[in-house]
Structure formats: structure tokens, C-alpha cells
């Protein structure tokens, strides 16, 4: 009895002094160190003076798609890693690489260790078309192709065959599709001074691809890319652009859409201008980029020698149908057309992967949530999953730019702070949690080799050192083995 009284009194004391004393820190775990994870960590650190934030990532390298998604010839987009590095190096923040949610540590374990768990691990899978021939050799996902040229350790073995064909078809017209087209068509001398993975550069240098088709289901008024990327691809040296002027005819519904949408309006203007400018070169080995509209992929065709290789794509022509204000969808017309090619890159969207114990909306490919608060299911009567939050593509779907996550993180962190204030979320003073020390002990017991931020800096130095002798900003270490070995070494300076 006596002990209980002391316990309760202590608890009361804790609560009443929590605002003036060094209270028990709020222990936060962010899963994923890309823009969503890093912006979330930054805002949590700023919002709570006592918060301790741990960022875990399954890779030994941080920064998510900024490192493995942004194209090698877009170095300015990667400058944001400076800001993210400062976050990871903050005294109340720790980066733990090579820690995988689902295998190194389970979601329920994390929720036991931390007051707040924010899942920001993005979308590492692909949407499927579900059409015949999708498994033929040479039908690749753009996501994997991007991993490949960006030296992601899981993209090493893609080994795309760029030597047995002169034509590539890219399905999709978003910025990822444009990135892929650009990497395939850009003079390799220009790529040689970027941080492109050297195995990819070598393959591209021997590539026989000269013609690329960028195919969209809808029209130029609906193209999903943005101006900077389109302008860039249209400006590639010695590249002929082919756009059918008949595709540029706008319907009243198109005009309505463009009126209120600055992005689409400027894209349409760029495409119109490109259609009317004459080809600059005609000759052997001439590189050409075709923008093809109103074509929906129907099936992939197999080469006649039956080697299981793709030889072309059958498309169904489409027309647009209004399904609501400002929204038109592509509808098949029953008329078909083939484009012959030796390689297809599907750039139709990424998809998130669920983990054990995580509610998931398989239709939308995201975690059901309310402004970042994870919900138990997709029904109207879903309950809040206490202490569990989501940010980035896992929350919103695979759209947006780096900066989109800035606002996404703000919303999620607002929700966390609100929940703490309202007592919806158990506070650090009401329940002590092991946090960082608990995770470290668990990882140690499981023999998981954590890669710290300092360790990443060793990888970083080594990559930059290797790059400097090849006139590249860095030479990416593209295998798990090389990455982990680099963390083990000291920063020896060898010539």
C-alpha cells in the first residue's frame, strides 16, 4: 500500500513537473530516410525540444530516392541532401542503416520500443498492367531500370539488353518516363561526368538504341510530366523530336482542363512548339524521340523465334471520355496498332509494399490514414492505431516531388502533436519506452550490423574519392558487399 502511494505520488510529480523539468524524452522512430522521413524527423526535432528521433533505413545509404531515384544528370535536385545530413547529424537524432522493417525488427516491436513510429518507406514495387506478355524478356519496370543506372544495390543484376534492338517503347509520360528516355538518348559523353553507375554507363556506351517511343493513354493536355523535364528532353543535342500535329487538336473538355491548370497549359505549349519545329538532322544512326498519344497497351508480342523475348507492343487507340468536371479517361476504340521494339519500360507508377501488422489499402496501394494517423482498416468505422503514423508515398501514393514531402511531413507532425496534446497519444511522461537503447540492444542480440551516419560518411568519402579520378562527382558503390566493406574501413587516404 505504502509503495503504491509513493508510485502514484511520483507519477503525479512527474506530470506536474513535466513542463519545467527535463522530462522523459519523446521517443520517435522514423522508418525510411528519404525526403518524407527526413522532413518528418526535422519537424519533430524542432517541435519537441526533448524528442529523440531515430531514423532507420534498410539500405546502408540514406536519402531514399534522392540518391536512387533522381537522375544522374540532375545534380541540383540532390542538393537537399545537405539539409537532410544536418538532420541526421542533429544531436537528438540518429541514423541506423541496414535495419529492415519486417526482418531486422518487426512493426510491433518498434511500437513497443517507441512512443511514436512514423512509416515513411515509400513505394518499392510496381503497378502491373495485367496484360498478356508482361513476363516476356525485355519487358522491364522503369523503377528497376532507374535503380540500375543509379547504382542501387538491388538493381545491380537487371542487365538490360540494349544491344539487340534499336527501338525502345516507354509506357507512361511522367517525369520518370522522361528520365528513362533521356538516359537512353543522351550522348554518353555527357553522362560520363555524372554519378551514373559505371556498369550502366558501360552498357549505355554499347547501346544500339536510337529510337524511343514515349506512349501515353491520353492526350498532350493530360501528359503527366512537368515543364523542366520536358524542356530538357526536347533540348537534347542532335535529337529529333516527333509529335503528330493531329494529336494536338484540343477538345472543349481539354480547353476547360487547361484553363485552370498552369502546369498542363505550359506542357501543352511546349509540346505544340516541338511539333511544329522541323527535324534538325536526318541521317544514319539518328536518334529520335516520338511522343505518342491516345494509345493504351493491349498486349506484348513475342518474337517469332520463340526465345521468350518481346518484339513489340500492340496498342488500342483511345478517345477521351468525360467522367466528371475536369477529368477525362481514355476509352478503347477497338482499333489497334503495333509498335515494334526490343525493349519495353513500364513507367506507369510505383506501388507500396505492406508489412506484417500494418493495415493496408490494396486498392489504392497506401496505408489507410487520416492526415497521417494510421487507421486500422479502410472502412468507415476504422479505429486509430495509436502511436502509428505515416508520411510520404506510403501515405499519399507515389506522386509529387521532393518538396511535396515537406508539406506532407508538416501535416503528419501536426497530427502527432495534436494527438499528444489531446491525450490520444500516450505521452513520454505517462509511459516510459526503451527507445534508441532498446533498439540497439535488440539489433545487437540479433547480430544486425547497424550502419551509422558516420559509417555512411565513410561510404560517401570513398565514393567521392573514386569519382574524382574519373571526373565524376562520385563513383557509386553499387553492391551490398562494397557498401558494407566501406563502412568497416577507416578513412585511409590512398592514391
Amino acid at each position: 500500500m505504502f509503495n503504491m502511494r509513493i508510485f502514484r505520488a511520483r507519477k503525479l510529480l512527474c506530470r506536474s513537473f513535466s513542463n519545467t523539468l527535463h522530462s522523459e524524452p519523446l521517443r520517435v522512430c522514423v522508418v525510411g530516410s528519404g525526403p518524407a522521413g527526413c522532413y518528418t524527423a526535422e519537424k519533430m526535432l524542432k517541435a519537441r525540444e526533448q524528442a529523440q528521433v531515430d531514423i532507420i533505413d534498410r539500405l546502408p545509404t540514406p536519402f531514399g530516392l534522392v540518391r536512387s531515384g533522381v537522375a544522374p544528370d540532375h545534380p541540383e535536385t540532390k542538393i537537399v541532401v545537405n539539409q537532410f545530413s544536418r538532420v541526421a547529424q542533429h544531436e537528438r537524432c540518429s541514423f541506423f542503416g541496414n535495419v529492415t522493417l519486417g526482418s531486422s525488427v518487426s512493426l510491433s516491436e518498434l511500437r513497443r520500443l517507441y512512443h511514436v513510429v512514423v512509416l515513411a518507406y515509400g513505394a518499392e514495387s510496381d503497378r502491373n498492367l495485367g496484360i498478356p506478355g508482361e513476363n516476356l524478356k525485355g519487358v522491364l519496370s522503369a523503377r528497376e531500370f532507374v535503380w540500375w543506372y543509379n547504382g542501387h544495390p538491388d538493381g545491380q543484376n537487371l542487365d538490360p539488353d540494349l544491344k539487340s534492338t534499336d527501338t525502345a517503347v516507354i509506357l507512361g509520360q511522367g517525369n520518370v518516363a522522361l528520365d528513362v528516355a533521356r538516359i537512353l538518348l543522351r550522348p554518353t559523353s555527357e553522362l560520363a561526368t555524372t554519378d551514373i553507375a559505371s556498369h550502366a554507363l558501360a552498357t549505355l556506351e554499347e547501346s544500339s538504341i536510337r529510337v524511343v517511343y514515349l506512349v501515353g493513354r491520353r492526350g498532350p493536355a493530360q501528359a503527366a510530366c512537368t515543364a523542366k523535364e520536358l524542356r530538357e528532353v526536347l533540348g537534347i543535342k542532335n535529337l529529333d523530336i516527333s509529335i503528330q500535329e493531329s494529336d494536338l487538336i484540343l477538345t472543349p473538355a481539354d480547353e476547360e482542363e487547361l484553363k485552370s491548370n498552369r502546369i498542363h497549359r505550359r506542357i501543352f505549349e511546349l509540346l505544340s512548339k516541338a511539333a511544329t519545329s522541323r527535324p534538325r538532322h536526318a541521317g544514319l544512326n539518328q536518334r529520335r524521340l516520338h511522343f505518342v498519344f491516345f494509345r493504351k497497351p493491349d498486349s506484348f508480342q513475342e518474337s517469332k523465334d520463340n526465345t521468350g523475348h518481346v518484339s513489340g507492343v500492340r496498342f488500342e487507340k483511345t478517345v477521351l471520355e468525360s467522367v466528371g468536371p475536369g477529368k477525362q479517361i481514355a476509352v478503347g476504340t477497338g482499333e489497334f496498332e503495333d509498335i515494334k521494339c526490343g525493349i519495353v519500360l513500364k513507367s506507369i507508377g510505383y506501388k507500396s509494399v505492406p508489412v506484417d501488422g500494418l493495415p493496408f489499402d490494396h486498392k489504392k496501394g497506401i496505408v489507410p490514414n487520416d492526415e497521417g494517423r494510421v487507421l486500422s482498416d479502410t472502412s468507415d468505422t476504422a479505429a486509430l492505431e495509436e502511436g502509428l503514423y505515416v508520411c510520404g508515398w506510403l501515405k499519399r501514393g507515389p506522386t509529387g516531388i521532393v518538396a511535396t514531402n515537406l508539406y506532407c511531413a508538416e501535416e503528419t507532425v501536426s497530427s502527432i502533436l495534436e494527438d499528444l496534446e489531446n491525450g490520444v497519444l500516450i505521452s513520454s511522461t505517462a509511459a516510459l519506452k526503451p527507445g534508441r537503447n532498446g533498439l540497439l540492444k535488440l539489433m545487437h542480440d540479433r547480430n544486425v550490423r547497424i550502419v551509422s551516419f558516420n559509417d555512411w560518411e565513410k561510404i560517401d568519402s570513398e565514393e567521392r574519392r573514386l569519382g574524382s579520378s574519373r571526373n565524376k562527382p562520385r563513383e557509386k558503390l553499387a553492391t551490398w558487399n562494397e557498401l558494407l566493406t566501406a563502412t568497416a574501413e577507416g578513412t585511409e587516404y590512398s592514391t
Binding site: 511520483r10 523539468l21 542538393i79 511522367g174 520518370v176 523542366k228 505550359r266 499519399r396 516531388i401
Partner: protein
């Protein structure tokens, strides 16, 4: 019982320390401000007011303003302009920006929360600011294609939006008011139109 007491004691001591430190510091600050520092500030303000006044009274005064100011002497004071930042909660902060500096850099130097993911390389839209008065907006040179490409993607874009890294302080911008966009304003979960990437 003993535990409770010693804890209380520790708390009391730390609170006392905290309070005494604060008093000491604030006393130091209050007592230390040298009057000498006030004078240049006063002069600078009066010069700025002079400039502003002339701007409203005589339009043709503008063309000779720059040379006039330098003629007034004390080129030190003329090298900054006044810029007011208004954050998304409506709070205002008036800062001095040296001529030639970008608004992004000025914001960072004055701890104003303006993001700058690409650090001024025209590769993002996070330093987006809204020029609150059309008159000032019109004084700026038109944005380049590259800036417009980035503005396309800015959240809360409006007619007088610019990228903070592209707005450079010039004498004619003295007194400009820049609003930081309300970030989460158009961030609905339902009916959210995804931006392309």
C-alpha cells in the same frame, strides 16, 4: 519518502539556478546596450523615410534616387533595404537586406523559416514567396522559363508568386513585404489532386 524529498530538492535547486541565470543575462543585456549603436540606426531609418517619401511625392524622383542617396553620403547605410517577411500565421519580421543579396539568403541569415532545398539552384520551389503588393511585384524582372518551371510546382501559387532565391535586393524594392505561403492550406486528403513527378 527519502527519494521524494531528494527529488524535490533537486527540482528546487535546478529551478533556482535557471531563474538566477536568466535574471543575470537579462540584466546584462539591459544594462549593456551602448547608446552609440543607436545613432547609425536612427540615421538609416531617416534616410529610408526620406527615400520613401520622395517615391510617393514625385514620380520622376525615382530615376535619380540611387545617385541621390549615394550623394547624401554614408554609403554604408544605403547598401541595405527594408524587407518584411510575413509568416503563415501572420507574424511579421522586418529585416535589413544588403543590396545584391537574394531574399532566400537574407531569410536564412535572419532565422526566417524559408526552406531552400536546392540552395538557390532553380531546382525546387521551396523558397516560394508571395509579393504582397502588386506594385513591388511589377518592379521585378519577369521570371525566366526556368523559374516559371519551378513556380509551376509551388504550393499555394498565386499571381504575385516568386522564388525567393531569384528576388535580389535592389533599392527600388525597399519596403517590400513578402508572405510565406500557408503550407498545408491546399493539402486535403480527400479530393487531393496529386501533383505530377
Amino acid at each position: 519518502m527519502l527519494n521524494l524529498n531528494s527529488r524535490l530538492a533537486r527540482v528546487a535547486i535546478s529551478i533556482a539556478k535557471h531563474l538566477s541565470t536568466r535574471d543575470y543575462t537579462s540584466m546584462c543585456r539591459a544594462g549593456y546596450t551602448p547608446t552609440a549603436h543607436l545613432q547609425p540606426l536612427f540615421q538609416q531609418n531617416s534616410l529610408t523615410n526620406l527615400y520613401k517619401g520622395s517615391m510617393f511625392k514625385k514620380h520622376n524622383f525615382l530615376s535619380t534616387t540611387t545617385s541621390n542617396n549615394t550623394a547624401e553620403g554614408g554609403s554604408e547605410q544605403n547598401e541595405t533595404i527594408s524587407v518584411t517577411f510575413v509568416d503563415k500565421d501572420g507574424e511579421e519580421k522586418l529585416i535589413k537586406v544588403p543590396i545584391g543579396m537574394s531574399m532566400l539568403e537574407a531569410a536564412h541569415q535572419n532565422d526566417i523559416e524559408l526552406e531552400g532545398a536546392c540552395e538557390g539552384s532553380l531546382a525546387c520551389s521551396t523558397c516560394h514567396v508571395i509579393v504582397m503588393d502588386v506594385e513591388y511585384y511589377n518592379k521585378l524582372e519577369d521570371p525566366t522559363d526556368e523559374e516559371n518551371d519551378m513556380l509551376d510546382l509551388a504550393f499555394g501559387l498565386c499571381e504575385t508568386s516568386r522564388l525567393g532565391c531569384q528576388v535580389i535586393a535592389t533599392p527600388e524594392l525597399d519596403g517590400v513585404r513578402l508572405a510565406l505561403p500557408a503550407a498545408t492550406r491546399n493539402f486535403a486528403v480527400d479530393g487531393y489532386v496529386p501533383k505530377p513527378h
